[in-house]
Symmetry: C2
Subunit: 210 residues, 2 copies
DNA sequence: AGTTGCAGGTGGTCTGACCACTAAAGCGAA
DNA sequence: TTCGCTTTAGTGGTCAGACCACCTGCAACT
């Protein structure tokens, strides 16, 4: 009676996580630094070793720590990319319609062109040109073209998201444009004409081959 | 001698994770269904209960399962993304990462406005207007405004990605615009003036408050 | 029939015990 | 001294067993 549903009593390992966070902060630990041993933590935090291990497992899963048997547990240099991959893989877990996927991917590609503009000097452009002429397969052209541009866009997060979408979409739909499209983009890339890029994509809308 | 460096011997809990995946698949378990008890799993999979628990902790962290003391372990219907909270509490994202995050989020918001345009009739616009006037806190305004638009953009995948970025960014940086900005967007939304939206964002660039 | 109370099952936690592994101290031979 | 080996202490990896708190279902009682 009068049961308060389930306030879910906090678990020990969650408390350990919090205390670890404080510990790392207070001791100014940097990536590569060593954490206290599991036994020492269990003793200090007044928790069983198994609970401490459950907390460490969580951190390991998120790529925040690295454990080396016989040596100890170490703080890992954090790369946002890792967690992005983990989370993205679950976002894509649910069924996504082909249209939604392509829409998002195309949007990213369009914006990437614009972001890359300032970084595309003469050398970069000829390099890109040489790259896409290595193959005659249009799908490959597409991938090569935008992989290069996404790198030049100078946003690791965007690159990562795009690569995941690219990988995922390649398994359900081949998407590429008319060969002329890439040449036009190359020209606009040189002119840095943002509006024209926007316009070009507007025309191209719903004209993806697949 | 002849040590093969250390390919990192796989841990038991990782094997358990894999076997659980197979189990779920083979038995066609759906969200809400019950998993075998920890003791039963340990017995079946020939592993200690603590190892099984470490695997379950991982799944719990990812929001894939839910454990109810006294009842059992159940497949979860939705993901709460608790790992995001945990991650951001541990990491002070580097400035570079923070900037990238905001850049991607802003880009998505901009495109979402355009995608939502066709679906924003008179009724929808007044509804949105009423929503954002419920609060005077600018950060809340921002979230409410774009949550509504992202929904109207009619792309579940884009919505999901945005929510993820929003959740992340809200824990490391408050980002919102001048109040006037939202009013301008509302106007352009009515006019469906895509170029002006693009232009407005171009002006707003690097003017995020935080 | 309605209520109570008990028994069994479940997750949550702790302890102690091994194992495999690593690094550093110790030590003997060159 | 210096080199190379053995020893040893400490670490993570794992397991088994023991409680506890909690939930459910069922049997016994009213």
């Amino acid at each position: 009676m009068f049961k308060v549903s389930n306030p879910s009593k906090p678990k020990v390992y969650q408390g350990v996580l919090e205390e670890l966070r404080v510990y790392i902060k207070d001791n100014h630990l940097s990536p590569g630094d060593k954490l206290p041993s599991e036994r020492e933590l269990a003793d200090k935090l007044q928790a069983g070793r198994s609970s401490v291990r459950e907390a460490l497992r969580a951190l390991e899963l998120l790529g925040l720590i690295e454990t080396r048997r016989g040596e100890g547990t170490f703080l890992r240099s954090y790369q946002s990319l890792q967690s992005v991959e983990l989370l993205s893989s679950f976002i894509l877990l649910a069924d996504r319609t082909r249209d939604e996927l392509l829409q998002v991917k195309t949007m990213i590609e369009k914006e990437a062109v614009k972001l890359a503009c300032p970084n595309m000097d003469e050398v970069a452009r000829s390099k890109l040109n040489a790259s896409i002429n290595q193959t005659t397969v249009l799908e490959e052209k597409h991938t090569i073209f935008f992989t290069y541009l996404l790198e030049k866009a100078n946003n690791q997060l965007l690159l990562k998201i795009w690569m995941l979408l690219e990988e995922f979409s390649s398994s359900i739909a081949k998407a590429y444009y008319d060969e002329h499209f890439y040449n036009q983009l190359m020209e606009l890339l040189a002119k840095k004409d943002y509006d024209a890029i926007e316009e070009l994509y507007k025309q191209q809308d719903h004209q993806l081959y697949d």
